[in-house]
């Protein structure tokens, strides 16, 4: 198996394939978020809620992709004026893919219930009074969340690099700034 495809499929697959897969994943991700009551309220955020509307699930994903497209698109155009917007759209749609499955952790409101238990007695975690099963679930969720964030960032970094032929430290610095800008922008747009 070619493992490079996992973190850089952009060198191989055409933009139409990536856009199609990314769009289908966005729809599936929004539907999953609705059923499992997950709010993707920022490009790097995921919170579970007690109630969520279907339009909110789609709006979250739409705003996140748009914010990534604006900030990373600006970096790509700065690095190379010949960057095509369609390639950047493919990157922003496809890179969100690892994130969508995290919603499933809130099956039957599980994550909300654990969060509420912890919030009732925040010191329980420090005192070791938290149920082992809950602690285990939290650890598994944290591990998968971290993996999904790193995977998403790797896809965005490599995708923008391929789309704009960007290289060097300047690109890395601008990429980090663009992700922070996208996170702030998406947070503001979704919450207000």
């Amino acid at each position: 198996m070619n493992y490079k495809l996992l973190y850089n499929p952009f060198e191989r697959y055409q933009e139409r394939t990536l856009i199609l897969v990314g769009s289908l994943a966005l729809v599936a991700g929004a539907v999953l978020a609705f059923f499992f009551k997950a709010r993707f309220d920022g490009v790097l955020d995921l919170h579970f809620a007690s109630q969520i509307e279907l339009w909110q699930a789609f709006a979250d994903q739409g705003v996140n992709v748009a914010c990534l497209l604006i900030s990373l698109g600006a970096v790509a155009f700065y690095m190379n004026k010949r960057t095509r917007i369609i390639d950047m759209l493919a990157v922003c749609l496809f890179a969100r893919l690892p994130y969508y499955l995290l919603s499933v952790f809130n099956v039957n409101g599980l994550m909300v219930r654990i969060s509420e238990e912890i919030l009732k007695d925040p010191m329980a975690l420090a005192k070791g009074d938290i149920a082992i099963a809950n602690l285990f679930l939290l650890l598994v969720f944290s591990g998968f969340s971290l993996l999904a964030i790193v995977w998403q960032l790797a896809l965005l970094y490599n995708g923008t690099k391929v789309a704009s032929n960007a290289k060097g430290t300047t690109y890395t610095i601008l990429f980090v700034i663009a992700i922070i800008v996208a996170e702030i922008l998406s947070k503001l747009l979704i919450n207000y």
Binding site: F10, R12, Y13, Q14, E15, R82, R84, D87, V162, N165
Partner: protein, 89 residues
């Protein structure tokens, strides 16, 4: 096919063509001729340029042939252009 040396193995400066011969009549021409700019590129870059010309200058066709994405193929071309600019300087 033997690889055409373009750099001097001793001092790394660009080599010149000093002799050409006709295999049919054994005529030999001596002189000092520059190597074509394209000959200074690595063989895989020369092959890329040849394939690019044969595909009618279409990066999309090249992408399909090489089983790579359009921006990857465009980046390969940009890198070759950069190398050619450096050689010409």
């Amino acid at each position: 096919m033997k690889k055409l040396p373009v750099k001097c193995p001793s001092c790394a400066k660009s080599l010149k063509v000093s002799q050409l011969s006709c295999e049919a009549c054994d005529t030999i021409i001596s002189g000092s001729f520059d190597l074509p700019v394209l000959a200074n590129l690595p063989r895989e870059d020369q092959q890329f340029i040849l394939d690019f010309m044969l595909s009618g200058g279409s990066l999309k066709k090249m992408a399909t042939q090489l089983n790579k994405s359009y921006p990857t193929v465009r980046n390969m071309l940009d890198e070759i252009i950069e190398k050619l600019n450096q050689i010409q300087q």
